[in-house]
Symmetry: C3
Subunit: 339 residues, 3 copies
């Protein structure tokens, strides 16, 4: 039993839930899936696809929404949102590692860089001139922080990420392995003989609580900044073009591409492999299904799908019709509609 | 003539083929394309698109399927599968480099790491605490092996790849440049005010004979493991979400995205840029055409295409009809069907 | 005022434009957007979407096409191509940094490598045996140049890029962060029991003036070379398969995938997330819309869209019909056409 163990009473209070069929003082030490949990672990039912695993689960206690399933006579914590409750418990059992001022001797840190005393710096890191890193931040192995990069408090840079010259990270920003913050935007003018590169002189600004996925690339602004606002979460292998502005708390799944100078509103959700044109505006709260293509502005609050996007409800009908087109075509052809 | 040179007799035996119109003792020293091969080289005809290059080829001998083309009076090795025969000869002429225990002095190797004596470690590498690396493995320049990573025998990590904490590689695993094994999965719960990060505490397990492409990302499990089973080959820039399970010998072309908790069967083939939803099951032996979108479970053995996928045969008809829709639309509109 | 400042007369001459409503000797020191520029800066109107910002702009002078807008009584430089003029001025204000022979002591440079005296080498770099780097080139932090790589004059490798063994860069090549030049191509032959890896023994050749985006991957040839011809610009997260040949001055937006042995002509333009089959020929000057899928050869000079591609004009009609299919379907069903 680790010192992070919880009694069921403590666990229920931590997730604002009510305990049923169990003793307040029984103890759990971790979280696991319904199928894998044992009697010392909490589990949860948040996705109906896993309801089949509920009855057979050996979990010590199960987090369950109030309205889900007839109540079984087994240890339960009833909560409003089992997935959120799972998250809260998992965060309790796996707290963040704290910075402790470790500096690996192989790291190359420019004399002009300003690091708070407790900042951790891993092996083979490169920190350029005039970089600043605030208290509590941890820089993973082999990261490169180019000249003038500014890192806020309690950031975590996983290994092999690059923060480009003069780019800015707020507080509690997480950068996964291999991410590139501040690559050059894709800007050329045709001279009549060649594509002439336009110097990309803006920055990338990542506000507080942003997380950037592995090998994701965020281009610096051509002029002015590319801005990822607070609480935005970007998955792996995403491309964000120069001068894009992504509104607070928007979330994008992997392999999305947002073209240059496009503005994405607050609280948007993009499925994987979505692509957008440049110089467009996507309103607040838009939900865009995986693989969609967005060619023009989108009104706030809509749910969209397709290439190019249409309202999701329409797309569901279209996608049901598509595989039936050959049958329709055959009948129409027989009637002389061949085109 | 290198010591890897072969007589035509040896070459024919190595590929289980029969030699025609050539002397057993003539010698070849390498493999090349029909267009580029000279008299000291073997070539092959495996793709009908290149049949036009056959007659003019200057190759010393050509690998040919038994049933392909009327037999020309030139040196041939008739085999069942010319592409496999080409592979076998190319592997003969270009054998793997063997590990020899080289350790570059710039590498940072934690004192608690356990490396077999013959393991090679390149320049600027970082090997964390309690990492283990078995005999015959080679770690390329600037790789990062985080604490607790386990590497099997005869693995090859190309430069700048990262193996995350506690992730496991079997034997003969190949990791291309920049690949990320064990990035955090994309897991958040909405607290009502922000996306709360769920600690991702599982591992990635790559079984024997897996190959992972350049800049491909494989997320660690949220709880439990992401598993890539033996003999799986993943191309470049692929995204594999947390808790995905990919069955043995499946193969995926570049830029595929597999969302979290999805199970892919054995022997599947995915074309480039395919995307799948999360929490679905794709049966054994499925073939999915490039750019397809998979939203739900797929039965084993099927061939699929489209967004969302349908049987490939249906998709072929649909895709032939799509460009003819405007003509049909015009005729129907003229008859008053305007909708 | 920096020594890069220009009088308006100088600026107009640099862009081959004519100055209106302004004094020849007024001075500008930089470029900015219409919305952000101040009286010391040049701005430009190149995209009609930003015409609304013209009247309110505080820019010292504005670059404008001859035929654009009725001439306002404010400082203007009339030019043929405002975007090109902007590029020329931005290049004046932000000249390239020149190499000066800096070698960071943490870099690992093999004794057999040949570097011109003025070549810059950043921290934590790895330069292998028999690498050559010509005059004026700059190698960013943590780059890996494998054995036998050849780098031409005045190249710029941003941090953490890899140039694979024996790969060749011409002059003035730019490599963004994390790019992989010379990963193994995706080549296997099924042995009946496993996917047998085919050694990938060709090279990548990047000709003069090529630029490669962040985390983009270019596979080396299986046999022979993958060739990216002069002046080609590839954006971030692109995949180029083995033995691809991309013609001079072609340009591809992010997340494009070109499959093995495909030939792309000169002066082509690919939108983001385009994918192509392998072993096909795309003619000179083709324009392919974002997200398209190319399954076969394309004639030179065409503009294409869709999955699979069709002429762009047809695709525009098809994409307008798709969301109206449910209405048509309903009417036809009512008439007994249900299929």
């Amino acid at each position: 039993m680790t010192n992070r163990a919880l009694t069921l009473g403590e666990a229920a209070r931590l997730v604002s839930g009510s305990l049923h069929h169990a003793g307040e003082d029984d103890v759990v030490t971790g979280v696991n899936t319904l199928a894998e949990a044992d009697a010392t672990q909490v589990s949860f039912l948040a996705n109906r696809k896993y309801a089949k695993d509920f009855a057979a689960s050996k979990a010590g206690v199960i987090l369950l929404a109030g309205e889900t399933l007839p109540e079984a006579a087994r240890p339960l914590i009833r909560v409003k949102d089992p997935y959120l409750a799972f998250a809260l418990l998992q965060r309790h059992f796996h707290p963040d590692v704290l910075a402790s001022g470790q500096r690996h001797p192989s790291a190359v840190i420019d004399a002009s860089a300003r690091l708070a005393p407790d900042v951790d710096v891993g092996a083979q890191v490169v920190i350029g001139a005039n970089v600043s890193i605030a208290a509590g931040s941890r820089i993973g192995a082999a990261c490169v922080l180019e000249d003038g990069a500014q890192i806020g408090e309690n950031c975590l840079l996983h290994s092999r990420s690059t923060i480009g010259a003069d780019c800015v990270l707020g507080n509690r920003v997480i950068i996964q392995v291999g991410a590139v913050i501040g690559s050059d935007g894709f800007g050329y003018a045709w001279s009549g003989r060649e594509h002439l590169k336009i110097p990309q002189v803006g920055r990338v600004v990542l506000e507080d609580d942003v997380e950037i996925g592995a090998n994701t690339c965020i281009d610096r602004g051509a002029i002015g900044d590319t801005v990822i606002r607070r609480g935005v979460k970007l998955d792996n292998l995403i491309q964000i073009g120069h001068n894009v502005d992504i509104g607070a708390f928007s979330i994008m799944a992997s392999q999305v591409g947002v073209s240059g100078s496009t503005t994405v509103g607050q609280g948007c959700q993009f499925g994987g492999q979505v692509g957008t044109a440049g110089h467009i505006k996507i309103g607040d709260g838009c939900k865009i299904a995986a693989k969609s293509g967005v060619a023009g502005d989108l009104e706030a609050g809509g749910t969209y799908a397709g290439i190019p996007v249409m309202p999701h409800k329409v797309w569901l009908k279209v996608s049901a019709i598509l595989p039936r087109l050959p049958g329709l075509w055959g009948k129409l052809s027989a009637l002389g509609f061949k085109s």
